[in-house]
């Protein structure tokens, strides 16, 4: 089982590395977002941010965005695998179905994790203080969040048969999910109905956990546990959907 997971994971990483444009897209656009939105909104932003300025407030949200973009785009490969015929070859191999889910999710999650960590290392350049301890705890949150969001991407990609459909879902569902996660603005100043949405949004807790870990604040356990629960649910649902036999 572990061999199959490993092999599928390595394959996705190899595919990623061989497509340079994906690296640029996944890492480049969030950084651009961070810099442009952060600089643009910075002066008008009056929130109570731990680090002070808006670029600092926005930093954990950008980490979440890098994870989201990389994880989600990595799982488009599920659709490509299906179209290229590769997936059916995997499905008829004597491999536990959970291994197929784990292989696909861990491949995308490792990519997301590594890219987010690279961005995290650049934190001091953005005047975000970084210690060994805060790096370690933030990286731990990033790892859990990577698995959760990639798992979500896997679920969506598995149920779709076209990459166009995937982009539609991305714009309609995933980007709003990020917008309403506390990445851009805190819940405190938002309208009540927005606050409700933010509360039920699983990504809110991931961004919260990132923020707490990054700035070394207390209370990390609860949002981290919720994020881990989200990841576990995504993997479980993934295994269930793969096991479900096709009825044609």
């Amino acid at each position: 089982m572990m061999l199959a997971v490993w092999s599928l994971t390595v394959r996705d990483i190899l595919r990623f590395v061989r497509q340079r444009s994906r690296i640029v897209g996944a890492l480049g656009s969030p950084i651009l977002f961070w810099f442009v939105i952060g600089s643009g909104l910075g002066r008008s932003f009056q929130g109570s941010t731990p680090g002070g300025g808006y670029l600092e407030y926005f930093f954990p949200g950008t980490l979440a965005l890098i994870i989201l973009f990389t994880a989600i785009f990595a799982e488009i490969s599920v659709i490509e695998d299906r179209q290229e015929g590769f997936l059916q070859g995997v499905l008829v191999a004597p491999v536990p179905r959970m291994a197929i889910v784990l292989g696909k999710v861990l491949g995308g999650a490792s990519l997301a994790f590594v890219q987010a960590c690279l961005f995290l290392l650049a934190a001091p350049l953005a005047h975000v203080p970084l210690t060994v301890a805060s790096f370690a705890s933030t990286a731990a949150v990033l790892a859990v969040l990577s698995v959760g969001l990639t798992g979500l991407g896997f679920l969506i990609a598995w149920s779709l048969d076209s990459t166009q459909g995937f982009h539609a879902i991305m714009n309609l569902f995933l980007v709003p999910m990020w917008l309403l996660s506390g990445a851009l603005f805190p819940a405190a100043g938002a309208a009540p109905w927005i606050r409700v949405l933010m509360r039920v949004n699983p990504l809110t807790y991931g961004v919260e956990a990132l923020r707490l870990a990054l700035y070394g604040h207390a209370g990390l356990a609860a949002p981290l546990a919720l994020t881990a629960a989200f990841a576990a649910i995504m993997l479980g649902a993934g295994a269930a959907i793969v096991r479900r036999p096709l009825k044609g």
Partner: protein
């Protein structure tokens, strides 16, 4: 007790909504056989293939691979199966070697064993010099050979192939067929779907699948014998009228296939001159021959395959 069948299909039915794709299909393949499922597109071949390869759950009925039920124990069946799909199940962005290594890993092969088998498999299909080529850059024939190499790697007891030579040029086609014969010589059971007569004719046994049913099965020679006599094909300006006249005059059925009439007749060499004498000016051409598997197909289904 008789040996366990390599493949046993029993009263298999499958519906897509209201549409019946398989309507009570039963047949058995003995270990070591080279077996063809012959039929037109839409006849149910691919549905049968997908069920047998554990990708699709049938509406009812059973499929057993060396006694293992594909619905009850798909994992067990997958261990015994090798599957070659019509569209290559290889990753175009990995090299040939990486594709093979990955496939081996899925079947639990590693290290020395995997390395040895990879080398042997590549040699067997003459791909050794392509091992570092990206799979996506290979021609259709070479991709199919990569598929066959994957199969050699895992040494399945039953190899399933869906239209193994479709889309290949004649030399690549011959290549694949020779490889399948070698597989059989090594004791592997091979079951393939095909719509090509010459491909089916080279198999040990053939089942003709038509409109979701097996309308005939047996060795190609036996199927051909069922035609009974010779086959006379007539082209005419007005085949419909001529068919009626032939039936009235000779008491022989003439099946219309497009602009041609097809007549099965014992002692055809005596029938041809009589036929030409009987309808001067109405016949454009007559061909006469021993029946082939294609004639057997028409005999059993009443339709042309092409």
């Amino acid at each position: 007790m008789a040996a366990v069948a390599a493949l046993e299909v029993e009263a298999l039915r499958h519906l897509y909504g209201e549409r019946v794709a398989l309507d009570g299909v039963s047949f058995t393949v003995a270990p070591g056989e080279l077996f063809a499922l012959l039929g037109p597109n839409g006849g149910g071949k691919t549905t049968l293939f997908r069920i047998t390869s554990t990708l699709l759950t049938p509406t009812s009925g059973h499929v057993r691979v060396f006694g293992t039920d594909v619905v009850q124990d798909p994992h067990g069946a997958r261990r015994r199966l090798g599957v070659v799909f019509q569209s290559a199940a290889i990753d175009p962005r990995l090299t040939v070697g990486e594709n093979l290594r990955h496939h081996g890993h899925l079947f639990g092969l590693t290290g020395r064993v995997l390395a040895d088998r990879t080398r042997d498999a590549l040699e067997a299909v003459h791909l050794t010099d392509r091992v570092t080529d990206m799979a996506g850059t290979l021609s259709g024939g070479l991709q199919r050979r990569t598929e066959l190499a994957k199969t050699l790697l895992t040494r399945p007891e039953l190899l399933l192939l869906d239209e193994p030579t479709t889309g290949l040029d004649p030399s690549a086609r011959r290549d694949v067929r020779e490889q399948l014969l070698r597989f059989r010589a090594q004791g592997m059971t091979v079951v393939m779907t095909t719509h090509l007569m010459d491909e089916a004719a080279a198999c040990d046994r053939v089942a003709i699948l038509h409109k979701g049913r097996v309308v005939a099965q047996g060795p190609p020679s036996t199927l051909v014998e069922a035609v009974g006599g010779d086959v006379v094909v007539v082209t005419a300006k007005d085949p419909e009228v001529l068919a009626q006249k032939i039936e009235a005059r000779f008491g022989t059925r003439a099946d219309r296939l497009g602009d041609r009439l097809r007549i099965e007749k014992a002692r055809g060499h005596e029938f041809v001159p009589a036929l030409v004498e009987a309808f001067p000016g109405e016949i454009d051409s007559v061909t006469f021959g021993r029946p082939t598997l294609e004639d057997a197909f028409v005999h059993f289904t009443g339709e042309h395959l092409a």
